[in-house]
Symmetry: C2
Subunit: 418 residues, 2 copies
Amino acid sequence: MAREFVRATYRIETAFPLDRAAAALAGEQSSGTFVRVHGETDELRDRHLAKVERLTPLDESPTPSLPGAAVPKGVTNPVYRRAELVVAFPLENMGTNLPTVLATVAGNLFELREFSGLKLLDLDFPEAFRVHPGPQFGVAGTRRLTGVASGPMVGTIVKPSVGLTPGQTADLVRTLAEAGIDFVKDDELQADSPHSPLEDRVKAVMRVVNAHADRTGKKVMVAFNISDDVDAMRRHHDTVLAHGGTCVMVSLNHVGLAGVMKLRQSSELPIHGHRNGWGMLTRSPALGVEFAAYQKVWRLAGVDHLHVNGLRNKFWEPDESVVRSIKACLSPLLGGYGTMPVVASGQTVRQPPDTYRLTGSADLMYLAGGGMMAHSGGPAAGCRAIRQAWDAAVAGVPLDEHAKGHPELRAALEAYRE
Amino acid sequence: MAREFVRATYRIETAFPLDRAAAALAGEQSSGTFVRVHGETDELRDRHLAKVERLTPLDESPTPSLPGAAVPKGVTNPVYRRAELVVAFPLENMGTNLPTVLATVAGNLFELREFSGLKLLDLDFPEAFRVHPGPQFGVAGTRRLTGVASGPMVGTIVKPSVGLTPGQTADLVRTLAEAGIDFVKDDELQADSPHSPLEDRVKAVMRVVNAHADRTGKKVMVAFNISDDVDAMRRHHDTVLAHGGTCVMVSLNHVGLAGVMKLRQSSELPIHGHRNGWGMLTRSPALGVEFAAYQKVWRLAGVDHLHVNGLRNKFWEPDESVVRSIKACLSPLLGGYGTMPVVASGQTVRQPPDTYRLTGSADLMYLAGGGMMAHSGGPAAGCRAIRQAWDAAVAGVPLDEHAKGHPELRAALEAYRE
């Protein structure tokens, strides 16, 4: 194998000289221990040691962002320097084994006391990682399955999150299908539960979806939440497939990488990747992972759709971060591996213009809950209003102007003010 | 199913009235959305809504610990109140499906703007979770396989982390076996790599281990790092088993829950759980998960050994946290599910007395790298010195006193000062 590297970019914060802290990280995550041991030769170190490729000083802080950070001996008034750091990890150390790549770039390093802050910002994978299958459907495959040739796929989430019986869920999906929606997903809280066993829900919902498709030619894509152990996910996938379903959903962080890779291996359906728990990994500015790095791992693993929040969402995430996330999913990785971003959380007719203006793309899913379902004219009017808002956005026409000839949009603009 | 609940304890921080913030979390993670929607009845809410069971005010902060937190309308000078919160999530919503339980107790809630801090402190599982297999070997099974009837299992990690060929690794294991060690593990960076394919390493190492066992009756337990995709882990497990190996290791956070559960399902060997990446989940005081909650999930999934750092470790973690972690692994969960804590990181002959005094237990693995291997008398003397330190600790004899009749300990105490 040629000398290839996985490059990881970090934002670090440390009371140590920057180059010394960077070397500690590179050593710990390749061939280091705290005492030079038996068997460690210079040739071996040279071949396997991770390399500090770039170190760009940023700002400073008088206080440490994280607890437990050490201060160099003799320093009584430490300054915590921040920097952007790029480390190259030899592929020779880990191959293309994704869990072990993550153990290398996102393992024990977060515990190093040399750092009072450490965040993984991005990853750069070499060609060898093309061994991973990537998304089987992506944007084009999802458009084909839903029959939506252009513009966003308009969708919603089954709400309430939990509590509906399979029959009640099917009734709701009937209403949504008749409203003209493209996509419906289970909530992440609703998988295979006592009050709504997955198989019963699939049967009840797909009866409605298939009947609607027979009547109208339009098959609503329903992402059934199959998150579970590996065998159950496989069984659930087969159930969805057998009943004519066109999508399965998994909670990526809680199923985990190997489980999702196993599902992808034999999946015949798009995998809708739900990132719940993501806030835990990213919300601290001083610790964790940025979405730029995170989404690449899941794209390699084969996720077709990936949640990104939406502009002016009901969560903590600022708009510029959401925009970066949408763009990231649509940027080529190793020349491909495109994943469809799923825009959701507090979305109404208000956000399409800015979403389109800031990302330049309508290759996305646009999910609205209350923002569509609670329309004064009912769900069908709510769905039409969302499409009208997107038509206006893509055409560059202000919403208020477009609303003049579109009463559903007008009613929605009156109901959802900002 | 009777009305059972998974109870989750959080530390929250919020600018909102505590009861209102708590209700927002409970609603979001059971039946809530931001507009009351079609199909949501009072009866359904009553049955499925998560319940705030306890809310204990703690201290206050003038500034938010995390970015993106909202402030109630009209409040210009917010105070961020902290509290401990217990929420009961109906089992009816999720069953015993572990990934979905985590999507519920550790999902989107970390993104809620009502909170400027949110950490999952503990989980309480009802009896229904006994469906999960738990550790197959635990402390007793690991003692049986290693022939260590009492006291800690003394071990080390193959270092350098990466770079040794299978033959070099086997040579090192021979030295360690002859030194009298009980346990050896691969580094988490070393799995199935180009320079040390797992199968070749297993063959080379087990030849040494088996020959040593034939000669002495003592079989060293080697935890081979099989972290990989599901099928590869199964294949690697079978390879280890076929060559007489007695342990497999996985990087829990990067393989993920479903992958580890799948391995456990058909495993015939103890699973050594490496928690690398854990710092990312726990090092922020305002965000993430405490070990008390984390370890319960992995014990249900079936991990036999679980890393906990050690006293005065080279990482950021304070001693009181390490002590809590060791005790947590040894505390019964649903009456059993005992997992052996693995004490490691910067350990020498210096820490056994405090480790024993503070935890009251020698039911643990005690791993030393440089702290044993770099002993002036060589690895065998290093291993004896560690055992002598533990003998002194368990007998309550000061190290310096015990060293009088034990030259290896005396030499180690001189070399490793604090």
